[in-house]
Symmetry: C2
Subunit: 204 residues, 2 copies
DNA sequence: TAGATTGTTAATCGATTAACAATC
DNA sequence: TAGATTGTTAATCGATTAACAATC
């Protein structure tokens, strides 16, 4: 299948979300259907899916269940993925409780903080543990994804800790640029930046 | 200044974040400094800033405070912006309490829900009010930005309500594509999709 | 002057769209 | 067969990078 463009990868989960929400008895979907459901053009859907070798049928469309299987496989969503959150403040706690993760196959398997008052409290499906345990816990939990939900000034340290513990995919919510080894995949969500971009459009 | 590319607009808040974190006494910064701090190339920084008419000085760099002022103005960050959140679950509550918004000049001025048990509870700086009050409250609060933090099936309805109330910039955290009038700026943050993109890279 | 750094152009790269032959 | 829809190519569009003259 070769290398998929970043933009294609970013759209696949949106296609999958649409497909998953379709009535169970649906048998085929067209690129036009998916385009509507995901908010992109039909040509782009066909292009993306053809990169996956997604076996549509001309005149008919794509087999729903086959297509879901292909996209899931490409995204590596076969088994449940274990997630560790660092930072048990408001945001970390909300993420630990976020129902949308579970539905999509992610399990919050651990949440960590350095604040003694937070350690031991229950946050979502697990108890908050002291950050010092992260590396050790990896042996049992095999975290595959780390989420940084700390203040900006802790983000780099926490990222380094995660990498040292063996985590290779990290989602950073702290408003700071952090630098990690090439081999680690890092994504950044900055909530204030989202609002600032909206502000720009208000100002136009 | 003409029209700024979307990509430029998305980077400006990152530049500003870096500049804001610099020691107060700093007088000038180079495109290379900003590039490091924001995680992009220096050529791109210069290109972006030149689109703003940002008056750097060859051989010297950019005047820090002047540059901050220019970017802030372009982003429309002069006055505090009032934000209304709809959905007082875990995520909405966390957003209401998110310190990063206040620092960047956003004020959570209202939070709404339809769940009677949540109405009246305190969430961040304000009490949760019933969603029915949203339109009426606009008269006092002049919300400029709306945040949707509801389940997916409520997102379209809430978006329509916000637009009817006069809100023209919306940040949607619900995992659903919603359709709003052209004139409304809509941004989408889907937390599960971020994890799915990380999952793809794990699978490679 | 010599060194540093911008501003801008042209080249390159990458992504999206339009169009349509293939084919179900 | 006629209508629908894919898969793919070429054209277009847009964004980034490289390079360097201008100039502080």
């Amino acid at each position: 299948m070769g290398v998929l463009p970043k933009t294609t990868v970013a759209r696949l989960p949106r296609y999958l979300r649409y497909l998953d929400d379709l009535p169970r008895q649906t048998e085929t979907v067209s690129s036009e259907d998916i385009a509507q459901g995901a908010g992109v053009s039909a040509a782009l859907v066909r292009k993306d899916l053809s990169l996956l070798g997604a076996a549509g049928r001309r005149g008919i469309g794509y087999d729903l269940h086959r297509l879901e299987a292909v996209i899931s496989r490409v995204l590596g969503l076969g088994a449940k993925l274990a997630v560790a959150i660092v930072g048990a403040g408001h945001l970390g706690t909300a993420l630990a409780n976020y129902a949308g993760f579970k539905v999509r196959g992610f399990e919050i398997a651990g949440i960590y903080d350095i604040h003694p008052a937070r350690v031991g409290t229950v946050s979502g499906p697990v108890q908050v543990r002291h950050l010092d345990w992260l590396a050790e816990d990896m042996a049992n939990e095999q975290y595959q994804i780390g989420i940084i939900a700390t203040p900006a000034n802790a983000a780099q340290t926490v990222g380094d800790l995660m990498v040292a513990a063996g985590i290779r995919s990290i989602l950073n919510f702290a408003p700071a640029v952090i630098r990690l080894p090439e081999a680690v995949t890092l994504r950044q969500v900055d909530l204030a930046i989202e609002l600032q971009i909206l502000s720009f459009h208000l100002a136009q």
